[in-house]
Assembly symmetry: C2
Homo-oligomer: 353 residues x 2
């Protein structure tokens, strides 16, 4: 990943004369054209983006004719955090939303809302990271938009990404397709992203630095779909963590869910941080973990495939889908009790993504 140098720019209003974003960079005129030409094009450039039309024309070859479409705005604070930054998050988050329908993510568009005064270097660093994340996930930025708001009306930058993916024939994954008897699988440890953001924001120091788990999950999903199309539900456990996902799926599919708390993978340092802060890792946000509902007979096949993938090594079966108590999620605790795991009323930490 190379952060572009501002040194050689020799346009009429060279960006190097502007170490910080000014209102004119969002104005649709020459200064904005400079920003695009010298920063965004070298980083994001591809033949589709080059069309420079009001919108971008895409030749979508969807065998089954089904596309997935999604949008997310990213307002995480701070912009750069242990294990990632808002640029990487803006790609992975949207790629993951597409992958959770079984789609192959293809194209993203990106909207930047820049706050006047944002250091050009920060924008360069985050844009480079966004470009690198696109490469890693195998997606292209095909359209973009830049706006600038006055100082005190933003927080450095907000990024919106929307994405399009193609759904392979025979894949049908949706929140309301859970079946009684399905096994509940998580792809890895819970709570890393939320605790990473919390630690840096609240100035907490732990013995080892806790990093965000932000990664693109489309490769892992492709691997899973390589062994079977018969996956019923997929969901990445972002805001609200595992508890929000399980509650949403239980409600959407009108089924009950139970799981064993001790089987949910949690890093020791995340667990320690949660104990210290009085938090429950089941409610903490992740940015690179998914929950899958698969038919019982396929569990081992799917788990083997997941564990062979870099982003699924710690995949674990944690529970199952029941006919009883539809809409309700029950956790069995280590000491033999059980408790209702409720929908969180809100993420513990605002602006987590």
């Amino acid at each position: 990943m190379t952060i572009p140098s501002f040194e050689g720019w020799t346009c009429p209003r060279p960006l190097q004369n502007y170490p910080n974003i000014v209102m004119g960079h969002g104005s649709g005129g020459r200064m904005m054209a400079d920003l695009i030409q010298h920063l965004f094009e070298p980083l994001f450039g591809n033949d589709l983006l080059k069309q420079m039309g009001d919108s971008t024309v895409l030749d979508i070859n969807a065998e089954g004719g089904l596309l997935a479409f999604t949008t997310d705005s990213y307002v995480v604070s701070p912009l750069i955090f242990p294990g990632g930054d808002i640029g990487e998050l803006a790609v992975n988050g949207t790629v993951n939303d597409l992958a959770m329908r079984g789609a192959h993510p293809l194209y993203l568009c990106a909207g930047f809302i820049l706050e006047e005064g944002l250091p050009m270097e920060t924008l360069g660093q985050i844009s480079s990271s966004l470009a690198a994340a696109c490469k890693a996930a195998g997606v292209l930025i095909v359209a973009g938009d830049t706006k600038v708001v006055n100082k005190g009306h933003g927080d450095g930058l907000y990024i919106n990404t929307s994405g399009i993916g193609v759904i392979p024939n025979g894949v049908n994954i949706a929140p309301n397709l859970a079946q009684v008897g399905d096994a509940v699988i998580v792809s890895g440890t819970m709570g890393d992203h939320g605790i990473a953001i919390m630690s840096v924001r609240e100035g907490l120091k732990f013995e080892s630095q806790i990093k965000s788990d932000t990664v693109p999950l489309n490769g892992l999903v492709k691997t899973m779909l390589g062994v079977t199309n018969d996956i019923h539900c997929l969901r990445d456990a972002t805001r609200g963590g595992l508890s929000a996902v399980l509650n949403e799926l239980a409600t959407a599919s009108k089924v009950g869910i139970e799981f064993e708390e001790v089987k949910v993978p949690v890093r020791p340092e995340v667990r320690a941080a949660c104990e210290m802060l009085g938090l429950d890792p089941l409610y903490i946000a992740n940015e690179g973990k998914l929950v899958a509902f698969v038919p019982e007979p396929l569990v081992d096949t799917v788990l083997d495939a997941m564990r062979a993938h870099a982003y699924g090594r710690e995949a674990a079966r944690i529970g199952k889908v029941l006919e009883e108590h539809p809409g309700l999620v029950i956790a069995h605790t280590e000491i033999g009790g059980s408790r209702v795991v409720d929908m969180p009323s809100g993420e513990l930490l605002p602006r987590i993504c």
Copy 2:
């Protein structure tokens, strides 16, 4: 357009207990679910949105397989202005970007960045307006995202919309397809939106109130394509106004452009405001006007069709495309002189859209 009433809401954490947006409304938990269930769903609801997946699955039936895809963030200040508001603008702007490639706009997704403290009533009014604009343009909101940022880190609300449209077989419209000899057409009066925003923001009073021209242009484009597929370029004259559009097209197509200033339609009250403020209407933003490049033999046919449409009544031929001075735009003035109409270095007024 009905603004939803907050009175009958009886959910566990009823929204009527929150006259203003609080951080929890963006947290991915129950408060956000309330906001979606009681405000966004009743207004935007459709079968596709009901999927409630991480992304929305669309069955796109593109005969030729070509889609248009675009994104825009809207940060206009003030949120509500003469002739429209940010909600209506967020639909029309993105619909127009799709229409400028000849696409039929079908689906939008919407991302809201709400500032803590935003009155729920304002959000209701703007969301209603957004829903009404979707209906008017014939598009559906199929995916959404809500984030809340702390007070002092936003400006009420910012909206991002991304859109997908289908390009009819045989339509090929792009900024680099202008041909020498093409006629340059504008669909109506220039400068209305910019002057409307400026007047309300700067507290200027004119004899008659100047209103934004924000409208969806997909109907007008459909009408034009109804008489011929042979349209070379279309562009809506937003930030930077007519001058930015002509410069962009001259550069992209490597052609020269000349036009007669006196033929550019400008409302008398807009002209008066411009004269008073020392502004040039050619540089002022529009939100419901397009520029079209069409082959000379088709001009009258296209103009007749445009003038028969509500949003093209004042359509006018203003100039033509030349082989000479590629990349340069020349205006012939009323008194017989001529001048270079340069690319604006930036919109005169920030946060115009």
